[in-house]
């Protein structure tokens, strides 16, 4: 199915065009942060705290500095004072941001806290020297458990009483008492999710070069322009004297939306050392220090009428923001409460959000940072359905919003529109064959085999128009040869932004796709853009390309009309040529048009400027673009070992018309796999002393291809109120998956009377659930 074109006849949009990035990536010729080499390059490595909480009594680098090849050892006293301004553009300078010193100053607050920065001639020497830096610690009791941190006498940061990083209440919970008191069924449950990490294939990385008052940065980032802006402010170097170059980035998932403390250290140190400075995060550092997510819980209340009609929902949500969350965690936390009513017709609702500090690694964004709302709601719906004796699918069917009910305001004020929860729900169940599965399940149970089906539906605000994310620019240049380059901010971390820009530009100009290329990620030549985040890139690229291409189309048509002696209205652009409608022989190629535009300006029609280059900027036309999806998962649980085998996994999604179904499905698949990992095995865990226990891939268990079934896709296309109608799809897979998997396990174990309220559902945990439920009924 093809979507509406942006400014021209659709030819590529809607089709499964192969990715233009793939040739270099699949042949191993991509350029990632660690591939950057510079003459005289120096290497950075961090001395990190082995304690969850300790006072730093002294740091002695004498022995380290004596090691041949060591250039410098920096501590907080050397670097932290050089900061001019430290704030992220996404938040602005005026929010009540949480502390974020580059190096630990006086106190360490988690295991992995960077204490000193070693600079040496190579990485091996830097790591050797780091072992020689003598740090004298006075270990102190840590606050490891965020859930009890409010009662702790120990404070992670002295300025935050009760370890509360921030609280945002909605209407008081008591406002729902009346409707709950009168309801036939009221469910209260606490749902808990474990800490997880984004785990990009490529860790963080930054090479900085300070030369002649100019700073050049090669950064593994989702937002090259933000790296530039942030560095400019941090160091007091004017923005136009900073250049960030980002070619290929091996995954970000939110972890790379802004520079963190280690990157600040490299920026602050580079002017003090005699050469360019590189830091490449290794896997252990990434699992130790790049950030945690998803460690949170919610006290849920849901009221239902006798027939299962949802009357009210509320969630009292608390998350673990660790010691140094990045960026400010409190504001985004509100999204859990705002989205908690989900895709359902529910009249009353409220929420509260609390962010709690702990002596663990700081919270960072992770694909669908508010996804807990879906986990909590969808688990509770299944629990409620079982208690009411209603099939979980039927309970949802009675409450789910239909496309023809849009626009619809949820009870906490989210303005849903242009979406189709019921339609994806029915499509996903139909792909599965829900009734047939129930029969198969019954037959299996008769043989002592435990199959289950889990459903998860959600709605998702994408491509937000909030100030930082609300606009995107594109420059398009038809070169003198007629070849076309589109320049965009980029920030692709594997999410196919190059293919997207090339397809849309080819369509908008009537060019052959092989004539279009794109340059992204270099702030020296690309327009400002905030990078990837908030499932914004597809719709915003479409908008920006459309705005810019419309200027060039007009110019191409005017020059062609002059050359062909035709009326502009009779000229059309196709196959990198302009021709007169109905007269294919009357044609002029883009190369010929470009030749006129660049080299024979005097021959151009009156009023047409020389050259074929344009820049324009698209501003989002809606506060957000609403996407939605339903995930359905089936599984078999081995009740002896607790092993979960996923049988089928179905996603029916509505991200509007698809620019490229391959890319949409790839985004969904990646997110689903992360969600499966979160449901069943991933756990960024700490012991009770605050020691991390999952800093290698032996212990931080990611799902592999043998644990993931073939993912089946269904598509519903409800256009958004924006050019092309394209909506975002980057995060949804990760939002929907955990609840679908957990509900499938809960359904499989329903004969045992098991209630699932906590992830991960490891084999050990599943056996525990069965044992504590007391056996099959």
């Amino acid at each position: 199915m093809s979507g509406p074109a942006v400014g021209g006849a659709a030819r590529y949009a809607g089709t499964r065009v192969h990715r233009v990035e793939d040739t270099r990536l699949l042949t191993g010729t991509g350029t990632f942060a660690d591939d950057v080499t510079r003459a005289g390059l120096l290497h950075a490595f961090f001395v990190r705290s082995p304690h969850a909480r300790a006072a730093i009594l002294s740091v002695d680098a004498t022995e380290a500095l004596a090691l041949p090849g060591v250039i410098a050892v920096f501590t907080a006293a050397d670097l932290n004072g050089d900061i001019r301004e430290q704030w992220y553009t996404i938040d602005g300078p005026d929010i009540p941001d949480t502390p974020r010193p580059p190096l630990a100053d006086g106190m360490v607050r988690y295991v992995g806290d960077p204490v000193a920065l070693v600079v040496a001639e190579d990485r091996y020497i830097a790591e050797d020297a780091a072992e020689l830096v003598m740090v004298d610690y006075d270990p102190l009791d840590p606050v490891v458990d965020y859930a009890t941190a409010r009662e702790s006498e120990v404070l992670v940061h002295d300025a935050y009483p009760g370890n509360v990083a921030g609280e945002i209440p909605g209407a008081p919970f008591e406002t729902l008492d009346e409707v709950c008191d009168g309801a036939a069924h009221v469910l209260t449950e606490t749902i808990r999710e474990q800490g997880q990490a984004a785990v990009p294939m490529e860790g963080r990385g930054l090479t900085a070069e300070w030369s002649g008052g100019e700073l050049t940065l090669w950064s593994a980032s989702q937002a090259p322009h933000e790296v530039r802006l942030f560095a400019s402010r941090l160091l007091g170097v004017p923005e136009h004297k900073v250049r960030t170059i980002t070619r290929d980035v091996g995954g970000g998932f939110g972890q790379k939306v802004v520079p963190q403390r280690e990157e600040m250290c490299v920026l602050l140190a580079v002017r003090k050392v005699p050469g360019p400075l590189k830091w490449t995060e290794d896997r252990q550092e990434n699992l130790l220090s790049a950030g945690q997510a998803r460690h949170e819980h919610g006290d849920v209340r849901m009221a239902f009428a006798d027939d299962g009609t949802m009357l009210a929902t509320s969630i009292d949500h608390t998350d673990d923001v660790g010691s140094y969350p990045t960026p400010w965690p409190v504001g985004p936390g509100i999204a859990v409460g705002m989205m908690f009513p989900g895709p359902y017709r529910v009249a009353a609702g409220t929420f509260k959000h609390t962010s709690m500090f702990s002596n663990t690694v700081g919270r960072t964004a992770y694909r669908g940072p508010w996804a807990f709302e879906t986990l909590a709601r969808e688990l509770c719906l299944d629990i409620a359905a079982r208690r009411m004796g209603i099939d979980p699918a039927e309970l949802r069917r009675r409450n789910i919003l239909r496309r023809d009910e849009m626009p619809y305001s949820n009870p906490v004020g989210m303005p849903y529109d242009h979406m189709s929860p019921n339609e994806t729900f029915e499509q996903a169940l139909s792909i599965l064959g829900y009734e047939e599965f129930r029969k198969e399940q019954a037959a299996a149970r008769a043989e002592g085999r435990y199959l289950g089906v889990g459903i998860s539906t959600y709605v998702e605000p994408t491509a937000s128009a909030m100030p930082y994310y609300g606009s995107e620019g594109a420059t398009i240049r038809v070169e003198p040869s007629g070849k076309i380059n589109v320049y965009m901010a980029g920030g692709s971390t594997g999410n196919s932004l190059e293919t997207t820009a090339v397809m849309l530009t080819a369509d908008a100009l009537g060019a052959r796709i092989e004539d279009v290329s794109t340059i992204q990620g270099d702030t020296a030549v690309t327009p400002f853009g905030p990078g990837t985040g908030g499932s914004r890139s597809g719709p915003m690229i479409a908008g920006a390309v459309g705005e810019t291409a419309s200027i060039l189309r007009e110019r191409l048509l005017a020059i062609a009309a002059g050359k062909l002696e035709a009326d502009v209205a009779d000229v059309e652009l196709s196959e990198s040529s302009a021709s007169v409608k109905g007269d294919p022989d009357a044609s002029v190629t883009f190369a010929e048009i470009a030749n006129l535009a660049y080299f024979q300006p005097a021959a151009l029609p009156p009023g047409v400027p020389a050259g074929l280059e344009a820049s324009a900027r698209y501003a989002a036309q809606a506060m957000m673009l609403w996407a939605n999806a339903t995930h359905v998962c089936t599984c078999e649980v081995d009740t002896v070992t607790g092993a979960v085998k996923l049988l089928r996994y179905i996603v029916s999604e509505d991200c509007g018309p698809m620019i490229n179904p391959n890319l949409v499905e790839g985004q969904i698949a990646g997110g689903v796999v992360q969600g499966i990992g979160g449901a069943l095995m991933e756990h960024l865990a700490y012991d009770e002393d605050g020691n991390p226990v999952s800093t290698t891939f032996m212990d931080y268990m990611l799902p592999t291809s043998t644990e993931v079934p073939v993912i089946e896709y269904g598509h519903v296309e409800t256009p958004g109120p924006n050019p092309g109608g394209y909506k975002g799809v980057g995060e949804g897979g990760a939002i929907g998956a955990p609840a679908a998997v957990a509900n499938a396990v809960a359904d499989a174990l329903s004969p045992f009377g098991v209630t699932v309220t906590q992830l991960p559902l490891t084999p050990d945990a599943i056996v525990g659930l069965i044992s504590s439920a007391g056996g099959a009924s």
């Binding site: 091996y124 070992t641 607790g642 756990h683 290698t696 644990e707 050990d764 056996v767």
Partner: protein, 290 residues
């Protein structure tokens, strides 16, 4: 994740290798496939001044059969063990354990000698060696030794090897008659170290009673272990009189089962018993010719 500096040695013979070990002292370590040692070096969990790489020593590789035993050179890769017709025919338990070791890329480099020398409690080959009463042949500057598997694994990641001693081969007795062999392993993901695993070998008499049996456990103690009490209670009994689930329970009784983030001791014990029971059923079924 960069190792400390080390000197690299590539001896051409086992004798040269142990001579190096002898002269270099405690700071030297044999590296074969490097599938465990390399990450430990990178994480600086292990620090050695000298690595003695035995991968180029041809005489340490290969599988041969003579006089009722199968000899597997210590440098034989796990993948080569898995491909060996001799192993498949005469030491089926070894062949059947092999696919559970990591992934193919790991088996292409990892060696049987390295696996046994590393002695991870959750690894498969030590449990096979124990179950089959394999002999571990070694060489040191003082000459050769033959160490029974039962005396080889002494504790967590520790063995009877001296610092200057190199494993040269493993020798397995060939079981004949009405025999059956099975390996069962439970891991969360394909290729992971076992949460619990069992190797079972049985030989039945013509009348259908258990002539001899061996049960090796892995992931269920500080080292791979034999479940000798369970074996003894099964020996001599007619197969129909034996309850595999009870054999599983008996095999786990009294074991020093570890707890970690992947599973508590109670959980591992439960799964271990189930692995033994399933492996027992399969081995007996094979021995019975069914």
């Amino acid at each position: 994740m960069k190792p400390t500096a080390f000197d690299y040695h590539a001896p051409a013979s086992p004798e040269e290798a142990v001579s190096l070990l002898g002269s270099l002292g405690d700071g030297a370590k044999i590296i074969a496939g490097g599938q465990s040692l390399t990450p430990m070096l990178a994480l600086r969990l292990a620090v050695f001044e000298h690595l003695v790489d035995i991968r180029r020593i041809e005489s340490l590789r290969g599988v041969s059969r003579s006089n009722g035993t199968v000899r597997v050179g210590a440098g034989t890769t796990e993948a080569a063990v898995g491909r060996s017709d001799v192993v498949a025919a005469d030491v089926p338990l070894l062949a059947r354990a092999t696919p559970f070791i990591g992934h193919l890329a790991i088996r292409n480099r990892g060696t049987i000698g390295g696996c046994v020398a590393h002695a991870d409690a959750a690894a498969e080959y030590p449990a096979v060696a124990l179950a089959l009463d394999a002999t571990i042949e070694t060489l040191s500057p003082r000459g050769t030794r033959s160490i029974p598997a039962a005396e080889f694994f002494t504790g967590i990641w520790s063995t009877a090897l001296e610092p200057d001693e190199l494993i040269t081969a493993l020798e397995f007795g060939v079981w004949s008659g009405r025999t059956g062999f099975a390996v069962e392993e439970f891991a969360v993901r394909s290729g992971d170290f076992a949460i619990a695993g069992a190797t079972v070998a049985v030989e039945l008499s013509s009348s259908g009673s258990v002539d001899r049996c061996a049960i090796g456990l892995f992931g269920l103690g500080p080292t791979a272990v034999r479940a000798t009490a369970a074996e003894e209670s099964a020996a001599g009994t007619a197969v129909p009189d034996l309850n595999p689930d009870e054999i599983g329970q008996a095999a786990l009784a009294g074991q020093d089962v570890p707890s970690d983030s992947h599973g508590s001791a109670a959980y591992r014990t439960r799964v271990g018993a189930a692995m033994v029971a399933t492996a027992w059923r399969r081995a007996v079924k094979e021995a019975s010719g069914e």
